[in-house]
């Protein structure tokens, strides 16, 4: 067996009286990839941060033993601990947007680590930084070295973050959800990069993730965390063959499977929504008089149809214009041109008043369940809002009844109506958002990435809920997502968007099993699969 690099025994972290990490023990061996998997709030990030002593002051940490290469980490003074962080243990955070300093060039930010840990000359540091940028495969490093974070794409920023973490030549690299904020194709590249670097340097990688499929390709060993406890530690192969703990099984079962699209019933129904040549352009203005010099073509001539009671999935990476399209359809963003026929009625020809009323038929559910509800309104009022606005004739008593019924439909307790949104978990909030959309009895709901902010098991529940609602009420969905596995679960038809245009559309089985366009193929390849 390999040597133990990091040994943790009996780590407990508590905030006030709430225990977040409860007596966990694990080892990370030299040169291996150790994955800590769990849902949000299970304490996986906290346990990593507590090893590096990066937790806020109100956290109470107790540990029986914490050894890094045989040396006790808990006995090191705070002053000397700086020599551990960065030099012995590197850390890559989840969000590359907020973890880089926007007013420093990326070269300076990488050099900073080396200035702290090594006694290099300026020329040597420059050479090292240059090497690192090459190492993390950033194109044109001689130019990029003097650029600022905002000039880089998300994937490149994450590469810079990795370069910074590598600058101290650590023995252990902790990667805290390193790809969650990235697109699928980029995600695959970053993971590949981490793997190559690990092979070259022989350092240990401690990967923290919620994504079992991703972990299955990367990790040597997997530990599953639930509510602050490690419930199972196993070899990756063993884990996916026969996981032991019931929670691990539950996680595995909740994984959306790409195979679920096969043999879906196909029947044709009347068209509900017909979009032709839809365009949304943003003008680029320059000069003193703000003349329009050019346009950003966010959505560039999109056409599609959606049948009654069916689901059309709109797939694409961030920035491809899929959200803009969704919002443009219900006039939250003004369109540039194109027609939208809803039930045979052209939406742009309606009077303002009729347009307001047609909102009852088309509703939207947003991605982020945290920002899509007014934090100062009661859940009951949030759900009631649409009823009040569109059906003012409904009296207060009837409205209360309807709200109670809606909450029941989305499987929330009746008492929720008198509580505030922040008292609910992410999945419950998304249910409230769905109830709000359902309140006005729409025929079409535009779901803008409704599950991407949620944990896997919760995601599966929300998708089930949406499916059931479709069955019982015959609602159509325009399902905007970047996750092809979710598409396979829910969609009848798929449209793939790339740079403002739809490049491929068709029945879900056909697109996912035999894609015609190269980009679709690329997307499919990038999806992490178990095994």
């Amino acid at each position: 067996m390999e040597q133990v690099l990091l040994q943790v025994r009996g780590l407990t972290v508590a905030f006030k009286d709430e225990t977040v990490v409860n007596d966990i023990s694990f080892d990370v061996y030299k040169g291996e990839t150790f994955a800590l998997v769990g849902e949000s709030g299970s304490g996986k990030s906290i346990s990593a941060l507590s090893v590096l002593r990066l937790l806020p002051g109100n956290a109470k940490i107790s540990v029986n033993q914490m050894l890094l290469d045989g040396e006790s980490l808990s006995s090191i003074t705070e002053q000397n601990f700086c020599k551990i962080r960065g030099k012995r243990i590197g850390l890559v955070f989840q969000d590359p947007m907020s973890s880089l300093n926007p007013v420093m060039t990326i070269g300076e930010q990488i050099a900073e680590v080396m200035q702290i840990h090594f006694n290099y000359s300026k020329a040597k540091i420059f050479a090292e930084v240059f090497d690192l940028l090459n190492h993390v495969e950033i194109p044109e490093p001689e130019r990029r070295i003097n650029e600022y974070p905002h000039q880089l794409s998300g994937g490149q920023r994450q590469r810079v973050m990795i370069a910074i973490a590598l600058a101290g030549k650590p023995d252990l690299l902790i990667a805290d959800e390193p790809t969650t904020a990235l697109d699928v194709t980029i995600q695959a590249q970053i993971l590949q990069l981490l793997k190559t670097i690990q092979q070259k340097t022989g350092m240990a990688l401690w990967l923290i993730s919620h994504d079992l499929a991703l972990v299955s390709n990367m990790a040597d060993r997997i530990a599953v965390m639930q509510k602050g406890k490690i419930v199972e530690t196993n070899n990756t192969d063993n884990f996916f063959k026969k996981a032991e703990h019931s929670y691990s099984l539950k996680l595995l079962a909740a994984l959306p499977s790409m195979d679920s699209c096969i043999n879906k019933a196909v029947d044709t129904r009347s068209n509900l929504l017909k979009v032709t040549d839809f365009k949304v352009y943003y003008p680029i203005r320059k000069g003193f008089f703000k003349r329009v010099v050019d346009y950003v073509r966010a959505v560039d001539g999109v056409s599609f149809q959606l049948q009654q009671g069916k689901t059309l999935a709109l797939v694409g990476e961030s920035g491809c214009g899929k959200t803009t399209l969704g919002k443009g359809l219900i006039n939250l963003i003004p369109k540039t041109s194109g027609t939208v026929l809803f039930n045979g009625v052209d939406l742009s020809e309606l009077t303002t008043d009729a347009q307001r009323r047609i909102r009852a038929d088309i509703q939207i559910v947003f991605q982020d369940p945290f920002s899509s509800m007014n934090p100062r309104m009661l859940v009951g009022d949030i759900v009631a809002e649409g009823i009040k606005a569109l059906y003012p004739e409904i009296g207060s008593a009837d409205r209360q009844l309807r709200i109670a019924k809606l909450l029941e439909q989305v499987e929330l307790p009746k008492s929720s109506a008198m509580r505030y949104p922040h008292e609910f978990s992410g999945g419950q909030r998304q249910r409230i958002c769905i109830a709000r959309a359902l309140a006005v009895e729409p025929k079409l709901i535009i779901c803008d990435e409704p599950t991407s902010a949620l944990d896997v098991s919760v995601q599966a529940q929300i998708i089930d809920l949406l499916k059931n609602l479709q069955k019982s009420k015959g609602i159509s969905y325009l399902f905007i997502t970047h996750d092809l596995a979710v598409v396979a679960e829910i969609a009848d038809e798929v449209a793939v968007m790339y740079q403002g245009e739809i490049i491929e559309q068709g029945k879900v089985e056909q697109v996912l099993t035999s894609p015609k366009h190269a980009y679709t193929q690329q997307l499919l390849d990038a999806v992490p699969r178990i095994g």
Binding site: D368, S371, M373, N374, P375, E385, A389, L390, E423
Partner: protein
Amino acid sequence: MIILWTDALIYMLVLASLFAGFFIFQKPHFQRPLKKISASKTGMVSLLLLVFFIFIGLLDSIHFKQSEGHSTEIISALDYWAKPLRSQSEKTYSAPFSAHLYSKEMITLADGSHSWGYPRLKFGGAHLKTPDKERLEDVLTKAAIGFAKGASIFILFIVLLWSYLHDRHKHLLNSPTAKALWIVVFLLVSISYMLIYLSDYYHVLGTDKVGEDVFYQAIKSIRTGLVIGSLTTMIMLPLAIVFGIMAGFFRGWVDDVIQYIYTTLNSIPSVLLIAASILMVQVYMSNHAEEFNSLILRSDMRLLFLCLILGVTSWTGLCRMLRAETLKLREMEYVQAAQALGVKQSTILIRHILPNVMHIVLISVVLDFSSLVLAEAVLSYINIGVDPTTYSWGNMINGARLEMAREPVVWWSLLASFVFMFSLVLAANLFADTVRNAFDPRRAEQGE
């Protein structure tokens, strides 16, 4: 009974806040924040202090005519009860609890000879035969008697209410907050009574240059401070909120127009505007002398206009902050969700934007409140503040400027205005803090 302009506005304000309070009590989902406020010690104690201040201010806002001998003057209910304080004026400065003037004068002795020394005061310590020996003992005894009397009034009151409270509202006696409150009420009643009792014999906070009692001045200033703080805020708030939210929400030309208005207003020195409007009011009043035939009417008009112009010049800062916050909020998904639900824009503004900027409004209003009271002092310095005959902490501080330069120093005016102003502003700050914490649902949960 005479109702001055500011009186009327104060009554309206008090009525409006009572109605608002009543409305809030009716709503079931406000029960939790209200409970949280009532459970907070600092919050309730500062509320109690605020109510005490407002009570004095209200007493001072009930004006009526009173004939005294051959002259008729307008006095307030407070003046009526504080008659000894008002009428017992000395010749010039005297220190707190002193029996002598603060400066030496030629004294004519009983036998007709003259001597150079500190003359006895007309009222302060006049009952003492040999003040040098008896004074300290007398002050302490009188203070103890006053305190005991005040305390016994409080205890009598409690005993009368005891059975009622004990049987029906046990929590009003037992909770830690209630205990703190009762202690503060006890201290307030006892100390107030002690001060009133002592004021019959001494000038508790000394006298000023023309021999007026400083304690009386400080109490009278409470109303001025409250009027300036609250009326100015009432004028400033609607402007700042309406313009700020509209600019942020509608963008485009609405935003441009509003931004131009406040940048223009900001670039004119506000002192200029204030001076101009105060001078205008004075000219108006001297042209319509028959309508402003008494001193108090004139100073009231000037106070009202000061509030008005202060309000008009001070809304820009808050407006800009609200605009920025609204710009952020309008991109929030819940605003878009409301739009998708066909909610009218005016409703979105009131239901989604306004409640979410209230914390900024509350904080800046409380901070403005204190800076307004101070602004009044600064404006008095260049003679465009409140009327010099109006009692105000600003005027007291302004006067203290010269007093501090004297040798020996006359410190009590400054100290009195400082203590009163400090306690009012601190109470307002702490109370606003509690309210803000209680009404923010995210914060309320953390039980902090």
